[in-house]
Amino acid sequence: MSSSQYTYNLSSLAYSLPLLHAAAHPSSTVQGVFLANPSAAGTASTGAGRRPLEITEAIPVLHAETTLTPMLEAALEHVEVYAGKKSLVVVGMYEVSEGVSLSRAGKAFLGGIKKSWAESFALTVDIKQLRTGGNPYVMTLASDPSKNLQDSARLSTPGPNATKQTLMMIKGEKLHELLRDFDDHLDDSSAEWLENKALAAAIAKSIK
């Protein structure tokens, strides 16, 4: 049985953060994680019978050495502790690179997350879709990593203007300059990477 029993509903933060992370490091592959509370998932509506899961947070992790493991492992230990305090669990990851498919390292990352939560998913970005202002995300389920699901009924976004509003945040307000990930934290431990509070507040204002 390959299908996940969930639909994944991205909050404004979860939707825009991967794109902001990519904008902050335009010549690197970037990776991060998504958090949610699966025990708070809604009941299945009729039809496909899937339960809606609100993906409330996204945390940017790496923009360097994305093929290597030690810093990723250290980062994920932090994320686990942080998530635990908020009754959240790592439910997915994202990777934004030149290509649409998950890299080898990205697949290993997803495999690692799957051990903690079987219904995990990965999001990558189709740059061409970004230009049209549509939903640029391509989803891969950990339960069936060979399939890329584009424009899937399984992924819902904060609204039809979310991409345009995210691009405005980047081009207009340059909000990606506020973003800090674990790699930034390693270079300067004052970098606040788990919550990116200022950025999160700006996103809440910009994406409606």
Binding site: P26, E98, K174, L186, S190, W193, L194
Partner: protein
């Protein structure tokens, strides 16, 4: 004292920093004020590169045409013409430009590098052979060896990646970043003893002499590397390593290193310290 726009651009050219977003802001101001002086052509070239980076192809084209008029048939300007084709999504046109430059000047390393860059979207298995041929001739190109290491690691060929980083260090022995990366590769390969050695060397290289202060905030990356490696080794003392037995670090020293790394990471202070404490305190150091 803050640098003037012109001097800031010069400084970035000197250290080879891109800062493309800032360059497209500053360079036009400097040029239109007529303030560039003898730097004018270097600034135009810098602006062209930055504009291409930002996808502002028309701006780049303006600068390119000015450079072509000033320096006709210049291979250096030719590279920019090729890059413009790349930015327009016309790799075959770019390839023709670079190959033409190489016919005129076989040793133009920028043209060789761009041909390799054109092969990157095809995947590491295409780029690696080209890069190896290039490095056979241009052995001292540390960036080339660094790129080779990245490509090998993308394929999961970590041992080969480590060897490539070794060549970076032959060419740039002072490169602490390459030592740190080598630690990361060794760790990913599962050779935690070797990783430990690299991370310790990276720390040694980054530690200023006694009596001098380090400039800027303290990096905790290599201390995390030590913590991760030491923890793995304490959890699994029988882990295999490529190191000979006399270089292997035993449990007592590993515990001491773990304590030291923990102390160094915590003393860096900063954000989410409570989470960090939980992560670091989560190991039983007292066995």
């Amino acid at each position: 004292m803050a640098l003037s726009d012109k001097d800031q651009l010069a400084r970035w050219r000197q250290i080879g920093a891109r800062h493309s977003e800032k360059v497209v802001e500053l360079a036009p101001k400097v040029l239109s004020a007529g303030a560039a002086g003898e730097d004018e052509w270097a600034v135009r070239e810098q602006l062209a590169f930055a504009a291409l980076d930002m996808g502002m192809v028309e701006w780049a084209t303006d600068q390119l045409r000015a450079l072509e008029r000033q320096f006709p048939d210049s291979p250096r300007v030719g590279i920019l013409a090729g890059l413009r084709y790349e930015a327009l999504g016309q790799p075959e046109e770019a390839r023709k430009v670079y190959e033409a430059i190489l016919e005129f000047e076989e040793t133009n390393t920028s043209a060789h590098q761009r041909l390799i860059a054109l092969s990157l979207p095809l995947g590491p298995s295409h780029s690696i052979p080209l890069l190896l041929t290039y490095l056979d001739t241009y052995y001292t190109d540390a960036q080339g060896w660094s790129l080779l290491a990245d490509l090998y690691c993308e394929l999961g060929l970590y041992a080969q990646g480590l060897t490539a980083l070794g060549h970076v260090l032959v060419v740039q022995g002072w490169d602490g970043g390459a030592v740190s990366r080598s630690g990361g590769v060794a760790y990913t390969m599962g050779d935690y003893q070797l990783a430990l050695k690299y991370y310790l060397r990276a720390i040694e290289m980054a530690t200023p002499p006694p009596g001098t202060a380090a400039d800027g905030p303290a990096s905790t990356r290599d201390w995390w590397g030590i913590r991760q490696a030491a923890k793995r080794l304490l959890d699994d003392p029988s882990a295999a390593t490529s190191l000979p037995p006399n270089l292997v670090v035993g449990p007592e020293k590993l515990r001491a290193l773990l304590e030291l790394a923990t102390e160094r990471i915590l003393s860096a202070g900063g954000s989410s310290l409570d989470v960090r404490r939980t992560v670091l305190g989560g190991q039983d150091i007292i066995r």
